[in-house]
Symmetry: C2
Subunit: 447 residues, 2 copies
C-alpha cells in the first residue's frame, strides 16, 4: 500500500482544489436549488475515475448510480449529493458555498455532510487504480439527492433495484470520531419522523385590541406543544412509551464500555450542562438509546424590530421525532393525530416530511471486521464501535431490507457543525480518510 | 354651517388627492423608516392652514406641535404621524404605501390609524376658515411620532409642557363606529405592556441528533409561555388577578345597555365563534373590561420549505398585555420577572417595549357633551358612548395627568383592519368626519 499512500500525499493540492469545486455547487433539495447541476457533477467526477454511471429516476431527484471493479466481494457505498439549507446565512464566517480553508479546516455547506466523504472516496479509488491496478472487488455506488429531506423515494428505489444492489457490506455516508478524537465505527441510525404543525384561525392578522374575544392560534400551538413534552424534557405523547423497547442489559453495558468525555462533548456542543444535568454515563446512554422530540422551528405573527400589536392569523412549527426500537414513523404519526384530537386540537393540521426507520448492524458482521482491520492499519488502533448514531438516514432500506451489514466510517469529528453555520472538516481527517478507503477495499476483498 | 358643508362637498377631489399624498409617505417608527420626512410633511400641511408649528424634540422622534385660533375654550387634538409596520407585505392586495381607492374605500397603511383622521381634521379646519372666518376657540395640536411603538417619550413631553398643553377637552386620534355601523364616542383606553422574551441556549444551531442531551430553547419558551395562560384562555401569571379591579355593577350595566350584534362583530373579525364560545353579552363585556395577554409573534430555528433537522440556538416571542384598572405596566413587568424566576425560567430575558397606563373619561364631562351635540348634528342621532376601547395609547399623560377629558371620535368602522394588511377607511365616513369636526368646534365653543 506504500505507493497508494505516497500517491495520495503527492496529490493533496489538486485533490483539495477538486473538493472545493465540488462544494462550490449548491444542491439544496429542500429549496430545489442546484440539484440537476450537482447530479451531473457527481456523475462526471465518477466517470473521470472510470465508473460506469447512470441517473436512475425516482419520483423526486434522481439517484446517481455507479459501478466499477470486479471480484468475489461487493462493496455498496451510500452517499447523497444534496445538502442542508445554509440559513441562517449571516452566521457564516465565510459564505456557505465559497469553500474556505482556515487553520487546517475546510469550511463549506455539505463538506461534512456529505460531499467531503464522497470526494474522499473517489480520490482514494483514483489513487488505488493509479498505483495498485484494478479494484479487487466490485463497488456499487448509490448517491441519492434527497437525504436531507428524509429520502422519501429511496425505499421505492431499493424495492425496484433489489438485485442491482446486492452486496456483502455497505459503507455509510458518514462517520465521525468520538469526542476524545478516536476513530470510530457506528453500526446504526435512529429513525426519524418530521412534521409541520399548522393552525390557521383567521384570514388576516387582527389588531390585538380584539384579544378579549378571539382565539389566538399561537397560544393554541403553545398549549398543544406543551401536551407533547413536559418541562422535565420527557415526551408525553399519549401511548408513545408503549412502543419504546428499553435498551437491554447488553446494550447498556456496550454503551457504558465506551469512553466518553462529557466535558469535551459539552465543549463541542457549546453548552455548559447537559439537559436535566445528566451525568456522563446517563448522557452517553441517552445519545444511543433515547428517542427525542425536537422543535426545529416555530413561526407566527410579527417578530421584526420593536413592537407590533397584532393577533396573528396562524401559527406553525416543525417537529422532529428521532426513533429508537420499536417506534416507526407510521406509529408516531398515528399517535400524534390521535393525541392532538384527544386533547382538543383537531384544528391543528399535520404535514409529514421526512420519515425513516431505525437500523442497526450486528457487531460481528464481515463488513464490521473489514472496517476494523482498515482502521487499525491507518489509525494504529482498533476503532471504537458505537451501537448507533444520533442521526438518521435511509439505512433501513439499504441495509436492513437488503440484509447488507452497514458501517458508518468517515472523516467527521464532533466539531463539524453539520446542519449548522460554519460546517467544516479538518483536512487531516480527510487525508487519513482517503487511506482508510484503500485499506477498507483491501480488507473486504481479503477477509 | 351650510357654507362649511358645501365647501367640503365641493373639495372632495382635491382633498382625496391630498390625503393620498399624505399616505404615500412611509413613516414606520418601529423600523425608523421615513420619520423625518413625515414630520416635515405634517408641519407643512398644518402651516398651509395657517397653524403656527414647531418640532418639539424628545428622546425619540420629535412631536409636531401646532396652534391656531383664539377664544375662551381650548381644544387639544392628539394624533400621531407614525404607522404600524406593513408586514406581511404579500397579503396586501395593493401596496401598503400606494393609497388606492376600491369600491368606495381607500386602502393604505396608516389611513385608519391615524393619518386619515389627521388630514380629515386639517381639511375641516381649512373649510371653517374659508367659510366661517376665524376659529371660535384655540386649537392645540400634538402629533407625535411614536404612538405605534408605545409612546415611550410622551409622558416626559407632557411633564415638560404642562402649561403649554392646558385645554378644556381633548379629541383623541381615532374613533370608530360600532359593528351596527352606529357613530360612537369612546371614553377610554386600555393600558398596555409589551415585551419581547428571549432565550439563548447555545452559540450556534446544532444537528438535532444531539437532542437527547441538549436543552432546547424553543421547548423552554413553550413551557414558560404555558405557565402564563391556560388553555381556557385565562391569564395565569402569578399575582395578576390581585391587581385587577372587577367591573362595578354600574360598569357592567353600561356595557349591557349598549347594542351589540355578535354576528356582525364576528364577521368583521373573520371568525365563526368568539373564544370559549362566549355569548354576545359576555363578549361585549369582555371587550371593555377584560385584560388580555397576546402572543403577537414567535420565532425560532428553521421554518422555510421542507425539513431541516436542527436544534435552534435561541427562541424569542413578543407579548402584549392589555391593562384594565388597576393594572399598570410596572406591576406587570415586575410580576412577569418574578413569575418566570419562580417557575424556573430565570434564563429568559425580558425586553420592554411599549408601556401605557389605562385612562377613562367621565361621561358627564363638557367635552363629551360637545361631541354628542356634534354627532347629533352630523349623523342625526345621539352617538353611543363606549366606556373604553380595546386599544391603547397615551391617553393617561394627555388626559388623566393633565385633567383634560378626552373623547375618541373619528372616521373608523369595525372593518378597517388597523395594524393588519389591507388597512382601509370608507370614504363616506371620511366626508362625514370632516363635518363632525366643524360641528365639534362649534359645540365646544358654544356649550
Amino acid at each position: 500500500m506504500q505507493k497508494f499512500y505516497e500517491y495520495l500525499d503527492a496529490h493533496r493540492e489538486q485533490n483539495l482544489a477538486e473538493l472545493q469545486r465540488y462544494l462550490r455547487q449548491p444542491s439544496i433539495a429542500a429549496q430545489n436549488i442546484g440539484m440537476t447541476e450537482m447530479a451531473q457533477l457527481a456523475q462526471e467526477r465518477l466517470q473521470a475515475r472510470g465508473f460506469q454511471t447512470r441517473l436512475i429516476p425516482t419520483k423526486g431527484y434522481p439517484v446517481v448510480y455507479a459501478e466499477l471493479g470486479d471480484g468475489p466481494r461487493t462493496l455498496l457505498i451510500y452517499d447523497h449529493y444534496d445538502v442542508q439549507p445554509p440559513e441562517p446565512l449571516e452566521l457564516w464566517e465565510t459564505p456557505a458555498f465559497e469553500p474556505t480553508v482556515r487553520e487546517g479546516n475546510l469550511y463549506a455547506r455539505g463538506v461534512a455532510d456529505n460531499k467531503g466523504d464522497q470526494m474522499c472516496r473517489m480520490q482514494a479509488i483514483e489513487a488505488w487504480l493509479a498505483t495498485l491496478g484494478p479494484l479487487p472487488l466490485k463497488i456499487k455506488w448509490v448517491i441519492e439527492g434527497e437525504e436531507e429531506i428524509g429520502s422519501p423515494n429511496l425505499e421505492a428505489f431499493v424495492h425496484e433495484n433489489k438485485d442491482l444492489l446486492k452486496a456483502d457490506g455497505c459503507l455509510w455516508e458518514f462517520g465521525t470520531r468520538n469526542e476524545l478524537d478516536q476513530f470510530s465505527l457506528t453500526l446504526g441510525l435512529k429513525g426519524i419522523a418530521y412534521f409541520e404543525l399548522r393552525l390557521r384561525q383567521m384570514e388576516s392578522d387582527v389588531h390585538s385590541g380584539a384579544a378579549p374575544v378571539l382565539q389566538n392560534p399561537v397560544w393554541r400551538l403553545v398549549w398543544a406543544l406543551n401536551t407533547l413534552k413536559s418541562p422535565d424534557n420527557r415526551i408525553t405523547l399519549d401511548g408513545y412509551w408503549d412502543h419504546v423497547r428499553p435498551p437491554t442489559p447488553e446494550e447498556l453495558a456496550w454503551a457504558d464500555s465506551l469512553p466518553f468525555d462529557a466535558e469535551q462533548a459539552k465543549a463541542f456542543l457549546g453548552v455548559k450542562e447537559f439537559v436535566n444535568n445528566m451525568d456522563a454515563k446517563a448522557a452517553n446512554r441517552a445519545m444511543f438509546y433515547d428517542p427525542t422530540l425536537t422543535i426545529c422551528g416555530i413561526d407566527a405573527g410579527y417578530i421584526g424590530e420593536g413592537s407590533k400589536t397584532v393577533l396573528p392569523k396562524e401559527a406553525r412549527c416543525k417537529l422532529d421525532f428521532r426513533l429508537v426500537p420499536n417506534l416507526t414513523p407510521e406509529i408516531v404519526r398515528d399517535l400524534l393525530r390521535k393525541h392532538l384530537d384527544r386533547h382538543g386540537f383537531s384544528d391543528i393540521e399535520i404535514i409529514g416530511f421526512s420519515s425513516e426507520h431505525w437500523a442497526r448492524t450486528q457487531p460481528d458482521a464481515l463488513m464490521v471486521q473489514a472496517a476494523r482491520r482498515a482502521g487499525q492499519a491507518v489509525y494504529g488502533y482498533d476503532p471504537l464501535l458505537y451501537p448507533t448514531s444520533g442521526g438518521s438516514g435511509p439505512m433501513y432500506p439499504l441495509s436492513t431490507m437488503l440484509n447488507i451489514p452497514a458501517v458508518c466510517a468517515g472523516i467527521g469529528y464532533q466539531g463539524v457543525r453539520a446542519h449548522a453555520p460554519n460546517e467544516h472538516i479538518r483536512l487531516n481527517d480527510y487525508w487519513l480518510g482517503q487511506k482508510f478507503i484503500g485499506e477498507l477495499i483491501k480488507a473486504l476483498a481479503e477477509i
